[in-house]
Amino acid sequence: MEYFLQQLVNALTLGAIYGLIAIGYTMVYGIIGMINFAHGDVFMIGGFIALIGFMICVVLGLGWAPLAILLVLLLTMAFTAVYGWAIERLAYRPLRGSFRLAPLISAIGVSIALQNYVQMAQGARSKPHVSLVQGGFNLYSANGFDVRVGWLQIVIVVVTVALMAGFTLLINRTALGRQQRACEQDMKMASLLGVNVDRTISLTFVMGAALAAVAGMMFLMYYGVIDFFVGFLAGIKAFTAAVLGGIGSLPGAMLGGLLIGLIEVFWAGYFSSEYKDVAAFGVLILVLIFRPSGLLGRPEIEKV
């Protein structure tokens, strides 16, 4: 029981990070029907920018954790959003209207380019980071086993939930979100109604990158280490989460992220941590076989 609770706490934290990344996959897929394989690397970039941000805070002597975290959060989101915007503008928009695989190949290219760029600029060795948020409390103790909840875990879950709630509101309640959903359903028609489709797509990438940046920062703080290659695995897991929840569905991405976090952590906790990735990807295969449209996804509707 205690062990189970502890794993649950860990799983929620990991699931939150996956969920934030998965939103970027699902939104881009929803609007232009493309899997942005560079998204995992945008997450990695976010982690590095956060690392640099924290260092700047140290240099400036900003020791008070909440302020430093908030500053770094905003900085990371802003800079990573620029990356997201630039990637779309340079690598995907020129290929719009080309054959379907073209942007996909371009995305893989961007992914490799980003990895190599960071490897050159930051070095190949992993960078350590001492988290500003230390400690935690005992949630529950029994049989000599303490269920520990780190303050950092709470920060991660709270920030994630707040971002997801704000984001859901943005999509469902504002003119911007309405225009995004309209583009998702019929881009040409939206354009005929005066919606600037190119700008809407750019904004989608910007938002996806900003959320991935938060995930990158959380990842850095949680694991205390980052290297140029972390985006690959995390990106593919988040992609799995998006497919599991139903790609194109926003609540699906959040739910999928949570489930992948749960599966991975519990598999590692009860069976074998060597095979945790196998478990996560096994789920992807099962979903693709038995429920291709995902848990919350609607079956593909034929567009006329």
């Binding site: 003119a175 309405r178 225009q179 309209a182 040409k188 028609m189 354009s191 005066g194 919606v195 489709v197």
Partner: protein
Amino acid sequence: MTAPLIRVQHLTMRFGGLVAIDNVSFEGAPGAITAIIGPNGAGKTTVFNCITGFYRPTVGRLALNHAGGEFLLERMPGHEIARRAKVARTFQNIRLFPGMSVLENLLVAQHNKLMLASGYSVLGILGVGGYGAAERAAIDKARGWLERIGLLEHADRRAGELPYGSQRRLEIARAMCTDPVLLCLDEPAAGLNNRESAELNELLLSIRERDKVGVLLIEHDMSVVMTISDHIVVLDYGRKIAEGAPAQVRGDPAVIRAYLGEDETTPEAAHG
């Protein structure tokens, strides 16, 4: 007579070796209903596609005039045609946003105003500025249109769930919510029964009288075309074969030949 709202000059559209439209010129007056008729494959929809930026014409000029100036449509991207030249259109096959609510469909059409008022939603989220007021005005306008087309009680249903005739009316209302000066309707009466097409006539006449919007109408249903059109342009095989007032066009030998055919083509025009 005032300057024409839209002036189509020497419009030619070739797809490879196929000439879909061949040197067609006509004008549409402001606040008037101009019908474009002709047998299937005459190039009617292609004319619309050129006007609304789907196609770049091979040759020709499409000039639109309104208080905001003159716009050469053949040079503008699609969303600019809607926003600056103020042209709206509907399609033969319905293209609503089926997963969004009826009301939202009408709000998307007004989004430019909303985006400006909300500072691209940034201020909207923060609750600053006139965003709330702009959003309320947009909703009021949308509800006004829903009342006119008799769909007010269905405002929160998904657009895809509405019956066919209602979807057609909603599509016209959505086009009108963009505040157009020119409304291009592609077979709005297709698939409607007699009662529904009579309602459509009412709606189109009210758009002409109340909103003073010029209408370009492609239609096969002659009960609609002959009743409400001010001016009719007849196309056949991509060429203009006649033009004039309804009575004039009805008696034109070239038109009768195109519809009834020298080579026994069926008069599809009668039922579309």
